[in-house]
Symmetry: C2
Subunit: 350 residues, 2 copies
């Protein structure tokens, strides 16, 4: 990735399961590959200085340190993080976005606390009731080889207007990130006929038909990967169920494959010979290549990395933040919703 | 499978994508392996007679033919099937259960029409508001190597009392089918802490805590396969999303694997050598081995096979019907709900 503009990203290197030893190399790698990029690593200053002070990128000022004395625990409740961790690496990184010192922030901290903190510090955009979590999943049919799916669990008990807002944000994100002029937007449903689905989906479909979006109808769970669609919109509960089921299925098959190859001396030989194939498969379905979920609908960019992200995985999340900043996705959403505002209210009155 | 009692099963061999040429061999195989079993195949008599009349099992009377002149199409609306297909193979098979001529029925017809017909003909059991679809999915942690999951899409917009009923039915099914004295029952959720989840799940959890079930709390999407749980309870929308996402994930990985092995001459050789391993993997995650979903909550047993079931797959569905009949799962649910009725009403008044 090479940038045409100078961009600064704030990176919380203290949250997550692995800690700064695993996350700092990701920061260094991203900075090495992008000359126009400055990365502010947020965490305990002394500790980080000891690791970075001799690095040429630190001396150059392209990796900087911002002190934060606290860390939000992976099982910490959002309310506790908000109340007791005002100097956490997570919060300080988001503060840098709020203050305009960074164009985006990245954290591998726990989703609930990150969403609550981001919402509290940055606030929701005008015209958007609820922020949503959006990530990229593999697709065999989309021209762009992936789909953007939201919401993945920031919300529960949504109303149709929320799904409409998710659809608009997701479509703008797909446009910006993939240079896709007209992203195909679908609703996640349990049947492809219009009469199927729960009341939320049926009502949401009516709203989406009234928008300017390229709304193509419903997809089912398997359609995420096999239908020609670029954005899949769903409520946070179903979206999270789908995401976790996908993760579980991949782990399940990996486990079965491992067992099958370990059965006897012949299968062990086959495993050896198949290693390059299996490695290429692993790379293709590697969740690390899909790491980095965008928190959309806030007045600033926040990217959530998987909690147990390693350096490869975390690097991917930082690169997503860079792309979102470069394409000014937040600005585009804001612009759309300042226009949209009238339309949404009108359609609600009908 | 060898039975201790004489059982008769009605099998709709006309519905589904593949037709009777694929489904009849499954019937013959099941009958061959079970001396105490009689199978009534339902469909166009002349056509079936031409295929079966020379078969020793037909001459013995262990495979019988019941005429049905119509077939419900795979994309036919439930209402149309109910109104216009009164002599369909699907309906006639269920009629045999209602009349006591068969202990259970099996069909590969479309889910909506099958559920509507079963509900119309057999009626829902007293104490049960809505029937549910339950199937078995692979598990690495459950002692029984699989979990029973319900509802998978018979219902949308459920209330907590419906999930409570699903939990009781699922637990009884798991007890009967696995000889599991105390099935571990969990609710599908998007976080393992009690505060998470939508309002339906939070309220359902409170109801389940009041039952005698071995209720162990929440599982997430990946927990279906990796948590120590025997019954996963969910609303039909989430359940169907999870099931279809699982199917899609497996197809996705199979597709990637195929591509990886086809890359060049070395990978093609590796594929050849790995064939036994891949076949054993295929057998383990083969959806055909998990084919056969039970429609629970009706006054009779109806098993739904996947529409594109082949003979192996359809045989599995018939065997599930046999097991449900042998263990009298319907009788057990009925008994439980006649006791439960008072309790449920009481707890609702609280």
């Amino acid at each position: 990735m090479s940038l045409n503009q100078k961009i600064t990203i704030a990176v919380d290197v203290m949250s997550g399961d692995k800690g700064s030893d695993e996350l700092l190399p990701a920061v260094i790698s991203v900075a090495t590959h992008n000359e126009n990029l400055t990365l502010i690593v947020v965490g305990q200053e002394e500790k980080l200085k000891a690791k970075l002070s001799d690095h040429p990128l630190f001396k150059e000022g392209r990796i900087q340190i911002q002190n934060a004395t606290q860390v939000v625990e992976m099982d910490e409740q959002p309310q506790s993080a908000l109340k007791n961790k005002k100097d956490s690496s997570m919060r300080v990184a988001i503060n840098l976005v709020k203050n305009g010192q960074a164009a985006a922030s990245v954290s591998a901290g726990n989703t609930g606390a990150l969403m609550a903190t981001a919402r509290f510090v940055l606030k929701t955009m005008p015209g958007i009731d609820r922020p949503a979590i959006c990530t990229v999943l593999p697709s065999l049919k989309s021209k762009y080889k992936h789909v953007h799916m939201l919401d993945l669990g920031a919300n529960v008990d949504e109303e149709p207007k929320h799904l409409q807002q998710f659809a608009i944000m997701g479509s703008l994100l797909a446009s910006a990130m993939d240079k896709n002029p007209s992203p195909k937007v679908a609703l996640l449903n349990i049947g492809s006929e219009a009469i199927k689905g729960n009341s939320l989906i049926r009502e949401s479909a009516k709203l989406l038909q009234q928008t300017d979006l390229n709304y193509i109808g419903f997809v089912e769970g398997d359609g995420i990967f096999f239908d020609d669609v670029d954005v899949v919109v769903c409520d946070g509960f179903s979206g999270n169920v789908a995401l976790k089921t996908l993760e579980g299925s991949c782990k399940l098959i990996a486990e079965y494959l491992k067992r099958s190859y370990k059965k006897n001396i012949f299968t062990k030989m086959a495993a050896l010979i198949s290693k390059p194939v299996l490695n290429s498969l692993k790379a293709e379905v590697d969740p690390r290549n899909y790491n980095g979920a965008s928190l959309l609908g806030l007045r600033g960019i926040v990217v959530k990395s998987h909690g147990n992200a390693d350096r490869v995985s975390f690097e991917n999340a930082i690169n997503i933040a860079v792309k979102l900043a470069e394409q000014d996705v937040v600005g585009q959403i804001e612009k759309q919703f300042s226009v949209e505002d009238g339309i949404t209210s009108d359609s609600e009155q009908i």
